[in-house]
Amino acid sequence: MAAAVEDEPTRRDFLVVASGAFVAVGGAAAMWPLIDQMNPDASSQALAAIEVDLAPIAPGQAITVLWRGKPVFIRRRTPAEIKQARQTPLEDLRDPYARNPELPPDAPATDANRTKKGHEEWLVLIGICTHLGCIPKGQNIGDKKGDYNGWFCPCHGSHYDTAGRIRKGPAPRNLDLPPYNFTSETMIKIG
């Protein structure tokens, strides 16, 4: 009889388990504000949209603007650069996806999918190397543009082509495109 009674959980066992569980859950819940406070705050999350006037940019020129704390590359490509990007077979690409937020994630990285229809000479990219976040060279006259005539990241040697696609080096992805739209023939709105 004694053995059977001892095996039965008592009221005290229940209280020990219940209060232990309560402390564990409460402790874990109290940790969350301490962890989450480090995430981007409300002011960083407030998305600013910017407008950029493209009129002064001549073919072959490029400008860099700041959007959401990130540099955005805007390059007006020459016909030769566009041709080079279009003639690249898709199987030569290291990253097959367009990385365009306005297209499905599996859209192929064709030059058409990296630009806006009717505005093919304009290439708008987030100018942050997808390897470790450096700013690639290639925006300024005289910059090293890499083996594919696009951009070259000096930090760890990633080469991007004239559609901002990774061709050589450690970067895993094509340069990301920001969300943007043409508001007129010479104005774009990023964000």
């Binding site: 480090m38 860099t64 450096c134 000096p154």
Partner: protein, 436 residues
Amino acid sequence: MVHHESSYQPGTAIERWLDQRLPIIRMAADFAAFPTPRNLNYWWTFGGILTFCLAVQIITGIVLAMHYQPNDALAFDSVERIMRDVNWGWLIRYTHAVGASMFFLAAYIHIFRGLYYGSYKAPRELVWILGVMLFLVMIMTAFMGYSLPWGQMSYWAVTVITNLFSSLDSIIDGLGTAIVQWIWGGYSVTGVTLTRLYSLHYLLPFVIAAIVVLHIWAFHITGNNNPTGLDVRQESDTVPFHPYYTIKDGFALALFTLLFAWFVFYAPNYLGHPDNYIRANPLQTPPHIVPEWYFLPFYAILRAIPNKLFGVIAMFASILVLFIVPWLDTSRVRSTKYRPIYKWFFWLFVATCLGLGYLGSKPPEGAYLVWARICTFWYFFHFFVVLPVVGLIEKPKPMPASITESVLGSSEGAAGERGGGGTPEPGGATACPEKR
């Protein structure tokens, strides 16, 4: 280790009163009298030197914190104010900056000493593991400290290193980005990031100090290793820590501070990078980013691998592999002095690490990249193949019968010395399987 009985006798009524309540004087006295192998060479002085380095960094760091502004608009100027306006600010800042390099120099010597003399082997595995933890926290602290002047190198070092975590995106999509944005507190490195790095840079040295206490505590349980790797077996094998090793450590420290002072006074910026005297600019990456010299070998490993995720994994693995060294090494002989084959591999490994350091400072292209890959391969080959295999096939050299004999040369001398233990007993198998 011979069990260390406390020999402290409270001399006064106050000491007796204290001894019954908080035996802190007894603790200090036992520390001073700790029986330490009599044959420790100068490579053993770097533990004390490292303690000195930690103290220097904490003291100069607290002073710098009185003048530094952890705000992205003010940080760069506040550092220049320390250099130009604050009384002795130049000296305190240069000591802190050079001190970081000296700290790593001493740490690397200390680590290689442990590797050479097998100080990680049973029963000192935890001493070693705590040491690797100290190294990891040192790396984090130094990285955060380097960000604080908010120059170009600071900014881009933070960008590149925090972006290492974005490689996790290729395992779980979005995970890496979420972690990186959590670290940044935004969508890029900003003043928000600077302030939190400052907060943690102030915290971590005290974490280091706490782990140092555990590290020292652990080897006071096992006793020090020594150049022969033999266990202490008799009283004549040891001398009290004070005055023998306080003096020896003190002399080595004096030489070390000469080097330290030479850098502080004659070449304070030699180990730094001139680009860090340019204010941080989020729109322009410096043409040639290199970390401080003490991170170069790991940076070379990161860049040697042409895949982002695997490069990051290899870099972290190159440090984390140290944790399992006690179990990778199959040799039962501690000291490399008695390991005729491993000795060559040890020095080849040292050369590999130095080579990686050199290659980390060079651009990742051409022959540099080829050599970085060869050295990276050998770095891991050493740990995962050389360490286990050489221990199995090697025939160790004959070893002295005891620490005393290794110093005095003959067993008569050993027996006579200090009326010690008489005939040396055969040692533990772990220390010396190959007795003469």
